[in-house]
Symmetry: C2
Subunit: 366 residues, 2 copies
């Protein structure tokens, strides 16, 4: 695998995206020890940056040392006691995954299905059980390109904890964990945060912390032990839990600096503008969007494959001719939907023009 | 956190080590999608390289997407059924951790303690229970610098599965999973493999696979689902499980190429020579080694802090004056033992001379 054969890809799929240049450069810095004060400063810095992109003041906000799916597991494994009722809104693959993960923690899962391509509905979730321990939903469904209204869930959650997947929303669209009543949230780095995959930004508030499982079935994701790992508060004494993925955390800190230097509101606006332009352009080409109008994610657009077009052939043409990766659909939509992501540094007008032109070419010639 | 303030450290502690240059360079390559054929080739390549450093032909050999401690969790969570008897040799911190992790999986843990600084004894482990499901031990105890004889365990395991922690041995000293009878093994990337922390090289043979837990309590570490993630065999169709930590896997592949290009036996010899020279030099300085003679790891040397010397002050002096990180001892040995690692690219004569000279200076002036 000589270095010269590594292709450059425009990563316009559902993630990973191309990282912010600052994140890539940070990966090549000299490695630090995981107990080095310079690394602890980088970890503190990344936790503080994460608080801002989460929209939270939660002290317990940190990058877990695994990918976003481990964030999902950490969320449930630390909050579900055997027999707890967990109401889960399912409008795509990641809601389905929540049901599997919660059940493995001993939850009594109350699954509430919504048509793929539509958002979850707060009132239906609230009505699904009189006294749930947890209500869980996905903010931005990566499988369908749909945004659900998390603030509405917070307004009806009652005594339940609100547990939210923000993998594809964090750093790309409005996310206000505290204002919306999110008690536990997890995310990933490889979408709008513009970092390579490998970390799960996580946050948990005092309300959820007080109800946590004392000794979760997972040692690796036991938040009670991880408290010492990042310091309960900035500057607090660290206790060793596991060796932090040093390079990835430093890379995350660099990307968060890049995002916050630009300004979070401006970053959201940049994703919004790119997504709106892409969706308008696709419709002008005569293509039909998949996600329900009014609930479309700007950072991840789903579009129907036209009748008679071979989905895989078009994706292959884009990859071969333009080094552009877009995503297939998921499950029953594998060959009938494309997923086009413009995330992190790719949320810009040039990327919009590039994918529109390349796709038009592919539809003519693939 | 401007880039200009990042120090260069000689990472001579118990890990992470400074990575091989090839591993660092690979981190800065253009990112690939996790389903890109170029990435799948890199993943296959890294699995094949891992088979060689593990000394195994196990098809199910892969880098798990989290740090070494998650490898430990994956080993137990996939093999321990509730009530299974798990005999664990404890001669340091990581044996202790095994007891905690196995218990969370519902194991009946039979803990067999050995004095810290000495190896586990195969006969005592075999005699601890008439019919254990699993016998587990740490090949190279990172907390004490001791090597245990895994081949001897394989010879007495009987019907039990042999589960081995190779975090600090893989890529540094002789490791022959198949010849020694290791059924399940996990490791880390940040020690002798010379890669940043963040992945857990893992291997499981057919014997253990047939006895695995059908639906483990962990979704993220469920090997049954991960089979499709890496392809049951090279070239097999991939199924999506989670987004691979692409940059880290490519970095691992590059480090494995570096190691295998040098030749595994030569890499082991290089670690051996550096460790022997370091240990001789320390004794010539009048220092006393901690690990029992005949069982000392070359890649990680433990040495007693001389009476009247302030351990932390010496470590601080090394860091401030020489940018050298060494490790403190663990638990009851926190202030009475130092841990000096020469791993991966740091296993060379220059590093030996540097740490010996710097430590001599520190003992005179700190």
């Amino acid at each position: 695998m000589p270095a010269t054969t590594v292709p450059f890809r425009h990563l316009f799929g559902p993630g990973p995206t191309n990282p912010y240049p600052e994140a890539t450069l940070a990966l090549s810095r000299p490695l630090l020890g995981h107990l080095d004060s310079a690394f602890i400063a980088a970890m503190d810095h990344s936790c503080e940056g994460l608080r801002q992109v989460w929209g939270t003041s939660n002290a317990r906000t940190l990058p877990l040392s695994a990918t976003g799916s481990a964030g999902m597991e950490a969320a449930f494994v630390n909050t579900v006691h055997p027999g707890d009722v967990v109401v889960i809104g399912v409008n795509g693959l990641f809601g389905e995954r929540m049901c599997d993960v919660a059940a493995r923690c001993g939850a009594e899962v109350v699954r509430v299905d919504f048509e793929w391509g539509t958002p979850v509905d707060a009132d239906r979730l609230a009505a699904a059980h009189p006294n749930p321990t947890i209500i869980a939903a996905v903010h931005a469904e990566t499988s369908t390109g749909v945004r659900s209204d998390i603030a509405a869930l917070g307004a009806v959650k009652g005594d339940a904890l609100l547990l939210v997947d923000a993998v594809t929303s964090i750093g790309g669209i409005e996310l206000r964990a505290d204002d919306w009543g999110i008690d536990v949230g997890y995310a990933g780095t490889q979408k709008c945060l513009g970092v390579a995959p490998g970390l799960a930004p996580f946050t948990i508030n005092e309300r959820a912390w007080e109800r946590r499982v004392a000794k979760p079935q997972s040692w690796y994701l036991d938040l009670g032990m991880l408290g010492g790992y990042v310091g309960e508060a900035s500057g607090a004494k660290r206790t060793y839990h596991h060796t932090a993925p040093v390079a990835m955390v430093v890379s995350l800190a660099a990307a968060l600096d890049r995002i916050l230097d630009e300004g979070l509101a401006d970053v959201w606006a940049r994703h919004q503008a790119a997504g709106v332009a892409l969706q308008a352009g696709l419709q002008e080409m005569g293509l039909e969007l998949f996600a329900a109008e009014g609930h479309r994610l700007p950072e991840l657009t789903t579009v129907k494959v036209p009748d008679g077009v071979d989905s895989a052939r078009v994706r292959g043409y884009l990859l071969d001719r333009y080094d552009i990766e877009i995503g297939a659909g998921v499950k029953q939509y594998a060959s009938s939907v494309w997923r086009i992501g413009l995330m992190g540094p790719n949320a810009n007008p040039g990327s919009v023009e590039l994918i529109l032109a390349a796709l038009a070419d592919a539809l003519r010639h693939a």
